[in-house]
């Protein structure tokens, strides 16, 4: 009797104690301990966009390097990255896993416009930093409505407008033909150009041709574009089709003023296979050093990157611009963490991400800097035009700054 009452009392006391203990303030910061910071990411490691999966891998490799060198302020980065196969429902599932199960401090460099659109509302509702998304869409720079989200690269519409303003200035009686990929990426570029041409857009653009990623070639579209009499060509294609477009245009004797979108500006994957001679005169807008361009071979940023790749990501391709892109953005993330010091709360992480002043990244073009503020969630807004002379991209003109325009 006494025994039972005593047992009951002890049990009650224990339960109360447990209850009090769990009611006590929980662990202070989500995703952070004294020795570790958890960063979450989803990338298309499989599926139609799997070529970009290398970005997640190179970021992981860079964080390993940082951890080997002692981490950030004594903490190692635990980079958790899941495959979303470029599928919006899968992205939602994986990001929920990162936020609710893995309890990451921040979500970083999620890739793709549809996938990021799917998680945009959720992640802002959950108040999780959604940093440096890997897409060129324009909507990520909206701190008023989505204060937790931040873009990274210059958006596609800005690039389209850069080309448009160049055309208006230098080719007033242009007849523009456009080849674009029939998805958000292609349409975004298209919008940028059309907006940039202003009221004259419908007069200046004589033909638009689209293609699907599943199409085998764009030869038919190039034939139609030549036939339209266009003398300016805006080429919005991914590398595989850019090669075909350049080759075919050259073969059928069509030599327009040819603007090639930044996505396909690689020497090794596009210009060389298409033919260096055939690629002469191509114009593009750059914000990064193109890693197969011989002019950077002695540049310190470039050589550091090569050394990093050889040691930490040897199976990665040194021809792949995505590997340079991932390296750059990983460095930026580490900078944000460093600026946080010991306060790695989600609030401070986004605060510091919106507090980057004139920060230099090793693979950005000389003169370009990272700038963010609470009203400006677009880190890179500068681009410069370059023309291909048969050997390398020769930068010309002034640095176009979307922020200041």
């Amino acid at each position: 009797m006494i025994g039972r009452k005593l047992t009951a009392a002890v049990l009650a006391g224990a339960l109360l104690g447990l209850g009090l203990a769990s009611a006590a303030p929980a662990q202070t910061v989500v995703g952070v301990t004294a020795t570790e910071i958890k960063l979450g990411n989803t990338n298309p490691y499989s599926g139609p966009a799997s070529a970009y999966g290398t970005i997640g891998k190179v970021i992981g490799a860079y964080f390993k390097k940082v951890n080997d060198e002692g981490g950030v302020n004594g903490r190692k980065i635990n980079f958790i990255s899941y495959d979303d196969s470029y599928s919006p429902p899968k992205a939602v599932e994986m990001v929920r896993k990162l936020v609710e199960q893995d309890q990451v401090a921040a979500v970083f460099q999620t890739l793709g416009t549809p996938t990021n659109t799917a998680i945009h509302k959720y992640i802002n509702q959950q108040k999780v930093p959604h940093l440096f998304v890997a897409t060129g869409a324009t909507k990520w720079n909206d701190p008023k409505n989505f204060p937790w989200t931040m873009g990274f690269q210059p958006n596609y519409q800005t690039e389209g407008r850069v080309y448009a303003s160049h055309i208006l200035k230098n080719f007033p009686d242009a007849k523009i033909g456009i080849l674009y990929q029939n998805d958000d990426y292609g349409k975004d570029y298209l919008k940028g150009m059309e907006d940039g041409l202003g009221a004259n857009a419908s007069k200046l653009i004589v033909m638009k041709q689209s293609y699907e990623v599943t199409d085998p070639t764009v030869d038919s579209q190039i034939i139609n574009l030549k036939n339209s009499g266009a003398n300016v060509f805006f080429n919005i294609t991914i590398p595989k089709f850019a090669v075909q477009a350049i080759k075919k245009a050259n073969d059928i004797g069509w030599k327009p003023t040819h603007f090639l979108n930044n996505v396909s500006s690689s020497l090794a994957t596009v210009l060389k296979p298409a033919g260096l001679e055939a690629s002469k005169g191509l114009i593009t807008a750059l914000y990064m050093k193109e890693v197969t361009d011989p002019q950077w071979s002695k540049d310190k940023g470039f050589t550091d990157w090569v050394a990093f790749m050889k040691k930490y990501y040897p199976e990665g391709n040194l021809d792949d611009q995505s590997n340079a892109y991932g390296y750059n953005v990983a460095i930026l993330m580490v900078q944000v963490l460093k600026q946080c010091g010991n306060d790695l709360s989600r609030e401070n992480i986004i605060k510091q991400a919106a507090n980057l002043k004139d920060y230099d990244l090793p693979l950005l073009l000389p003169g370009m800097k990272i700038n963010t503020s609470p009203t400006d969630h677009a880190p890179i807004e500068q681009e410069q035009l370059a023309k291909f002379d048969g050997e390398r991209w020769v930068l010309f003109g002034e640095i176009f700054d979307a922020f200041r325009k």
Binding site: Y45, S46, G47, P48, Y82, D83, Y86, S87, P88, P89, V92, E93, R96, K97, V99, E100, Q101, T113, P114, T115, T117, A118, H120, K121, Y122, N182, D183, D184, K187, E212
Partner: protein
Amino acid sequence: MNRRASVILAVVVIAFAYSLPIYMSGFRLFQFTQVCIYAIALMGLNLLTGYNGQFSLGHGAFYAIGAYISAIMMDQWAIAYGWTIPVAGVLCLIVGFLFGRPALRLEGLYLALATFSLALAVPQILKYFEHWTGGSQGIVLTKPKAPWGLKITEDQWLYLVTLTVTVVMFVLAANLVRSRVGRAMVAIRDNHIAAETMGVDSALYKSLTFGVSAAYTGVAGALSAVAIAYVAPDSFNVFLSVTFLIGIVIGGLASVWGNVLGAMFIQFVPNWAQDISKAAPWAIFGIFLIGFMYVMPYGIAGAIKRLWISQVVSRVSQKQGGEPLSSQQAESPSR
């Protein structure tokens, strides 16, 4: 399994399913909501392919249509999601029936490829009618809150709604396949000439089955639009239709339970594969697929049924004394 045991098992499982929101986190509930949605979609495909023998590689198209109907109704006309689900079902029923009529002329492989073409064309069509569908940008929706001031999260509410719809549709389907109509469907699958001689209107039943099948998958699509709160052409590519086919074969053709098992497979196994191997997760998934087919060529439900049959057979023949029959001999020849 006799009717009573089957019903008791069903009640137990359903009760268990309803209890999940009590102890499961939002994320897990989200995953199980997906399982319910896939189960409905698979039930639809199974009605057509498992019970009626018409191969379809294009059910992703009906899933997409259902999802977009729901999304457009919610986004453009601010209609409550509850109404969008039956509307999606009915519209898909009509579309399915209309597709099924001409498809009657196509046999097996050719039907599969015609439906495959449908699934392929859908993303392009969705992108074309930008004004309605939002084009490649898709349509962003808001997750509904629990009504009547109930103190449950959106995830929990959505799960309960989805589960209820799933239970209702499964009960309907189970009744359908056990009824005269169901027998007619199976008869058409096994030997449509004999069926017709028996007075079954093969053309009508096949088209109707197509319609009902499309309706189920359309309802699943509508539910998914609400659960994910976003629709875009990229969500409905060819691989979705292939995934559904995988789901019904792994789960078990011509089985009601099989669809739940198949749904769990297609929801969870790719994630496990990722946990096993970061480098080549889909290779692991492929190995799972092939392995399952070696061990259970008639699907999980099929394997369970065979196991049960062999148990019963050996017990029965032992009771009668003498050699136990093999389960091969005990099975009906038409299966």
